[in-house]
Subunit: 451 residues, 2 copies
């Protein structure tokens, strides 16, 4: 049994929905289909989810959103017309939207979640209808009926454990199940959404619940690439990579799968197959628990800017039991998550994502470190980027660090930080943000063009 998830671009037009139909019906194992809301058909287009957010906000601000509602209905209508589904489904979608609005709101976030979820929900209804129109037995599944319960954190929900048992029953249902992604229900019955991109999460949860053989994630790229195609020209596709490799790559800027998507799959060891709706014959990228380590040590290179470092120096720091813990405690009290804490003998650095550190927090943290910990010096460094080379088993190989540092040096890039050894599958370099693209290109050329 396979769970397939289709992203927004795979549902952006009638033509795309037909591709979805062809893909799903070409393999009888494809029994559970998770759909996103229709995305952009072209660059000038607007995603349905964005249209819905605009509609919700307009209604909140003015009490009227007729124009925005019409735009959403028209968007669905265009797809439905292209699929020859008749007018009834359009009426249904319009009524669905009006009902969501008429339910009003105790809180803005609750209202917005209910409206936002309409994109996936109506898309699933439409897709099921289309499958039926083609003579295939398919049914729309409502997440509430199926028992997908989430925490009541609007816009940032997490799945509640009982959902898995509920959803396991989908296995025994007849036909193809069309399940809307992105949202579920709180125990009190309200619509709650995952973070943006959360249809991937829905798919992963279903794959785990029905114990799928594979979770097929259909998107608009042929595969995961060894580096960002916006930075490196024609990067090589990655045929297979492990969860750990994927996770390390996605940390530093790879955005193929939402970070939380992999979590439930990892525990059950269910492989993920990233595939292209527009090129279904391509094998795509498999994400698995373990893989055979081939000749090439590095599987991918990723990087991201937006980090700051707090650098602390205190003579004989390493003799002071509890020093590191006290530093972390200060950060915790300010609710600032840190990424890494490389420490020397008399030095400790704390690497933080810039967005977590506003001016107020920054000055409080600096003052507390200086005062409470009686350090010799504390300073802050900006514009740090992290670049990672990732590959299963590469740290057992002599010379990987040497090749990477030499490639960076030859490109004139000053390495501010190296973090190797904490993870078995990656080496992380801290560099200046301005050097980020240059560094990714240099490392890509070293490990992919030479090998």
């Amino acid at each position: 049994m396979k769970v397939c998830k289709f992203g927004g671009t795979s549902l952006a037009s009638a033509e795309q929905v037909k591709k979805v139909f062809d893909i799903v019906t070409s393999d009888p194992e494809r029994r559970v289909v998770v759909v996103s809301a229709p995305g952009k058909e072209n660059d000038a287009d607007t995603k349905v989810t964005d249209m819905l957010i605009k509609m919700a906000e307009k209604y909140i601000n003015t009490g009227n959103c007729e124009e925005e509602l019409r735009a959403v209905v028209n968007r669905f209508a265009k797809i439905a017309e292209g699929l020859n589904l008749g007018v009834e489904i359009i009426k249904d979608i319009e009524n669905n939207l009006r009902t969501r609005i008429s339910l009003g709101y105790d809180s803005k976030e609750k209202f917005i979640d209910r409206i936002k979820a309409a994109g996936e929900d109506n898309c699933a209804r439409l897709v099921a209808k289309y499958f039926n129109s083609r003579g295939v037995y398919a049914q729309y599944i409502n997440p509430k009926d199926a028992g997908l319960y989430l925490s009541d954190e609007y816009g940032n929900a997490r799945v509640l454990p009982q959902s898995y048992k509920n959803l396991a029953k989908l296995k025994d249902m007849e036909g193809i199940l069309i399940f809307p992604g992105f949202f579920g229900y709180s125990l009190s019955g309200e619509v709650v959404t995952f973070p943006r991109g959360g249809s991937d999460i829905t798919g992963a949860i279903l794959a785990v619940a029905v114990e799928a053989d594979v979770y097929e994630n259909f998107t608009d790229v042929d595969s995961v690439f060894a580096a960002n195609p916006k930075i490196v020209e024609n990067p090589k596709p990655i045929p297979i990579l492990t969860y750990r490799e994927m996770r390390e790559l996605s940390y530093a800027g790879f955005s193929v799968l939402h970070e939380e998507t992999l979590a439930p799959l990892v525990k059950k060891g269910i492989p993920v197959n990233i595939r292209n709706t527009n090129k279904p014959e391509a094998p795509g990228t498999m994400i698995v628990t373990t893989r055979e380590v081939k000749d090439y040590p590095v599987v991918g290179i990723a990087g991201a800017g937006g980090f700051v470092t707090i650098n602390i120096h205190k003579y004989m720091m390493n003799r002071e039991i509890g020093f590191g813990r006290k530093v972390m405690w200060i950060l915790e009290e300010e609710a600032v998550p840190f990424e890494h804490i490389p420490s020397g003998i008399d030095d400790i650095s704390i690497i933080i994502k810039k967005q977590y550190l506003d001016e107020d927090k920054k000055s409080r943290i600096m003052e507390r470190i200086a005062h409470d910990l009686a350090v010799d010096s504390v300073s802050i460094g900006y514009n740090l980027a992290l670049v990672m080379i990732v590959g299963e088993g590469m740290l057992r190989r002599v010379g990987v660090a040497s090749r990477a540092t030499t490639a960076l040096a030859k490109s004139g890039i000053n390495i501010q930080m190296i973090n190797q050894g904490s993870s078995e599958v990656s080496i992380m370099f801290g560099i200046e943000e301005k050097d980020l693209d240059k560094a990714i290109i240099a490392l890509y050329n070293e490990f992919f063009e030479k090998d």
Copy 2:
């Protein structure tokens, strides 16, 4: 004003004491002289401090140590005879030893400290006597009279802050002051010693107290070398290095100065001059606050074995606020100091000196990490050595990491860990213990033979 400290080999024989006399009297600024106990005259010899420990233990075990006492007295007698000091000083030393024994003990450690300190104490008396015999006004200074008060941690004492004010009065005393190293007195009047090698600490404290222009540390080597001469053949001498460089080097195995020695000097910025008693014309090595950074990026290479790592993996670790702190708290509760905590995205390693981790603590810590922190895996790695390349300002230079990692790779050494960026003056490599010497040689050749 200069404070000079002479180590054990500089006082091992009459001939050596004469050298001390010549050195001290050749410069009128050399006003405070700190002496160790006589060390080995040759390889077959025993250090006086070791003889005294043996004597104390014999007495504790049998109530008699006449033979051992005679050996100590004879050792001093040989030096005194070579200096033509007459028999009176020998009698004094014997009486001094007998008094120390006759005072008995409430505790073993208190007794051992009192006996151990006899080496330095009587050596200082003998040296003062010799200076006088050569017509130079010198006086033995008793640490109690001078007010050198220490915490009552026997064998591991720390200076109490009031000592500095007391010792400052030495500035105003006449003649050359011969001060025994290694020990002081508790507030209750008991002899307490520093850790082994503590005469360096006494010298540093005196240098700070009298605000010396320089602290001259006379030993039996011409200078600090860029690498351990036992590993690298004829390593280059280091003419000047900063406190930070010295501290990083001494952490990883350089044992020129005791770790705690530099601490008081750093605060006052008093330079240290490492010199050779046997070659007083050599300029030795200056240890200073700041130095001009020359062409060569690396000043020294050091390494030490005896580390273990605890490796923890938990999926989505970096999203869990407080995870690192909780790990540290477990270590703190077990009173295990950690050296470094390199962390990846889903991984954290803890590097610990092997001696702090007995089997009991190890299994408790492993169990608590596995259980309390619900990690995916926790494992322990043995036989880790740390190698450091140290040099002020080298991290602003492109290519240092590249040269180092390439040198290690060419020697076939697998780098398990790289720690760069936390300290501004060093890069640390974690390697297998068996590769330690090979790594030091490879790095030395890269940075000193090529440059």
